[in-house]
């Protein structure tokens, strides 16, 4: 059996790493380069850094910081946040980024996914989809940048992203994010059954059982971890670490 892919998902706000709960209430986690250095020493196979302020502040990716991060990071690093042009993407790959993550601009401009995918290959393109429950329990794609629902059916948008050329999908449940209470397993299952590209499930993992369930029952091919690699345990202090995966596979 393939080794379970566990991907620490680190959130960048300005030039600091932060962790959120349901996309709000952020706490400082540390310096991005220093933290990547620490992850380097831990047994981490790949990492993802998402700049959560770039699109909101209409900024391009912070290339000088990304350059420094790439030089600290020996494992494959994915990056998302503020990518709006082919040039942005090209520069990121030149700096050593392995995969780029699209969210806001992919929603505004669907064709951008296809453009990037044909330029760089679909294996380098991850489309990130944030899902939040609306009132009356209907789930919708949510834009954190615009703080609004998009009236998009999650499954439709996931299928569309695949057709447009996404090589992988990052699925984040906003309602579960940072809660430690488990992931949205129904959602993960619904999406994974409707696409053929790999799915990274993210949001809500609080223990190893959650991770297992997302993979074995939900059909995700990887799990993104935030709180679990950032805090000692639920409600406790910041302490970067990787959960032990022995007896796991």
């Amino acid at each position: 059996m393939l080794r379970t892919r566990i991907i620490p998902v680190l959130l960048l706000k300005g030039e600091s790493l932060v962790k959120t709960i349901k996309f709000k209430n952020f706490t400082y986690v540390g310096d991005p380069c220093n933290s990547l250095r620490i992850f380097n020493e831990l047994e981490v196979d790949e990492l993802m850094v998402l700049d959560i302020s770039a699109s909101k502040e209409k900024k391009s990716p912070n290339f000088s910081l990304i350059k420094d991060m790439c030089s600290e990071c020996f494992m494959p690093l994915s990056y998302g946040g503020g990518i709006r042009t082919i040039e942005h993407a090209k520069k990121l790959f030149d700096l050593g980024i392995e995969k780029i993550v699209l969210n806001t601009y992919a929603i505004e401009n669907h064709l951008f996914i296809s453009q990037l995918s044909s330029y760089f290959g679909s294996q380098a393109i991850i489309v990130s989809i944030d899902i939040r429950k609306r009132r009356f329990a209907k789930k919708d794609v949510f834009s954190n940048t615009f703080k609004s629902y998009l009236n998009l059916d999650p499954i439709d948008w996931a299928k569309q992203a695949e057709e447009l050329g996404a090589g992988e999908l990052l699925l984040t449940s906003v309602d579960n994010e940072g809660t430690w209470q488990g992931m949205d397993f129904d959602l993960i299952k619904n999406i994974s059954q409707n696409i053929s590209i790999p799915l990274i499930a993210h949001g809500g993992a609080g223990n190893l059982d959650h991770i297992k369930k997302a993979i074995h029952e939900g059909g995700a091919s990887a799990v993104g971890l935030g709180s679990m690699v950032t805090f000692q345990k639920k409600g406790m202090g910041v302490l970067i670490h990787m959960p032990k995966l022995e007896n796991f596979n």
């Binding site: 986690v29 310096d31 020493e41 406790m236 202090g237 910041v238």
Partner: protein
């Protein structure tokens, strides 16, 4: 660049006066020697050993009394004491001891965002194994860098003051948050000695004034211990500071081995090296700019307790410290200091804390109050001596 005034590494060839028991020499501030050539700091250690009954039944008895009191007063609380952790030997071992003694400690960590991986992993392994909860405060990394940078630009030797005082205040903040009345400190005078008086000084005003003068950002997340906050905490929280290692026999080396077997805890290779900014100050900045090397504190203690001969201790002290190869490059890049600027900083005339505003005069004026507070154990006696006279 290395201005460290190294003496002949052979102690028999040295032109300056060196204590006949440890390796403190005449350049150490406020040093004096007796008829046998033994320095006042060696005598101070002997006196403390006597007073605290270190390693003797007298010490154990005294400590047990304190432990009973901590347990009694904390009986209805989730935690009965706080131990500040850095990932280093002493605080790690103290946590182990606290658990062994039946205390329920909360570990508190001040994260200045310059941690090494080994420190982070040590904390995690240890706390996991001992099932101890952690309270961490992480300062905004850019703000902390700005404060650290402003101390370098100020040209003073108390480069670690922002870290030390931030940590000290965080312990008080955590004590208040969880209404804990005792803070255990992992200091050992036998292993590390007592810092010579008058060598350095810092307080909240010092940090604020240097940052205002040389910093570029606003101080927003740094836990600054102002005079009012300090006094409020002393009077309202009434937290007591205990140094358990002063009462018992303690060996760093044994502690390291024990921790390693216990949970895979690893030694990081030297005092202060668990944090990268501390490592920079101790191996590059202080020796290079101030011709001062704080290693003689620890080395002298190691000589006193017989872990190391006087000859070897002197030789180690007078050999330039080992510097992690890419540390300087990392620091310059992170603090945005160019090569030329750094060269300039290192060659500039050093300044002292006396060149900047501090609370020192205020502490001196309130000598009577702090004498009383020291009597009540609400501030350490060492605080009274250092800050009020």
């Amino acid at each position: 660049m290395n201005k460290l005034d190294l003496q002949d590494p052979d102690i028999n060839n040295v032109q300056i006066k060196v204590c006949s028991r440890c390796i403190y020499d005449e350049r150490v501030s406020n040093i004096s020697f007796d008829a046998n050539g033994i320095c006042n700091y060696c005598h101070q250690v002997d006196k403390l050993k006597e007073e605290y009954g270190t390693g003797k039944s007298k010490g154990t008895l005294q400590l047990n009394k304190i432990l009973d009191k901590i347990k009694l007063e904390g009986a209805n609380k989730k935690y009965d004491c706080i131990v500040g952790v850095s990932g280093g030997t002493d605080s790690s071992y103290l946590l182990y001891l606290a658990k062994k003694w039946g205390l329920r400690p909360l570990a508190v960590h001040f994260d200045n965002t310059w941690n090494t991986a080994i420190a982070t992993m040590n904390i995690h392994k240890l706390l996991n194994h001992l099932e101890i909860d952690l309270y961490t405060y992480v300062v905004d990394n850019k703000e902390m860098d700005d404060i650290i940078r402003s101390f370098i630009l100020a040209g003073v030797a108390e480069s670690e003051a922002p870290n030390d005082l931030g940590f000290a205040y965080l312990l008080r903040i955590a004590a208040r948050k969880y209404s804990i009345k005792y803070i255990l400190e992992g200091h050992s005078f036998t292993e590390e000695g007592i810092t010579p008086l008058g060598r350095n000084y810092f307080d909240g005003k010092y940090i604020k004034s240097i940052h205002q003068k040389f910093g570029k950002r606003k101080m927003k997340t740094y836990p600054l211990m102002t005079f009012t906050r300090f006094l409020t905490s002393i009077i309202f929280d009434q937290v007591k500071f205990i140094r358990p290692l002063w009462y018992i026999s303690y060996s760093k080396k044994d502690a390291q081995e024990h921790l390693n077997q216990l949970c895979g805890w690893e030694y990081y290779g030297g005092h202060h090296l668990e944090n990268r900014s501390a490592a920079f100050f101790h191996t590059i900045y202080l020796p290079g700019k101030f011709n001062s090397d704080f290693r003689n504190n620890t080395i002298s203690s190691q000589v006193r307790i017989g872990n190391c001969s006087r000859e070897d201790g002197w030789s180690i002290y007078n050999t330039a410290p080992i510097v992690e190869p890419d540390l300087l490059t990392y620091v310059k890049k992170r603090l945005e200091i160019s090569d030329i600027e750094f060269e300039h900083i290192m060659n500039k005339q050093p300044l002292s804390w006396k060149d900047y505003p501090t609370y020192k005069k205020r502490f001196e004026r309130l000598k009577g109050l702090f004498y009383l507070l020291a009597k009540l154990n609400l501030v350490p006696k060492s605080f009274y001596i250092k800050y009020c006279s």
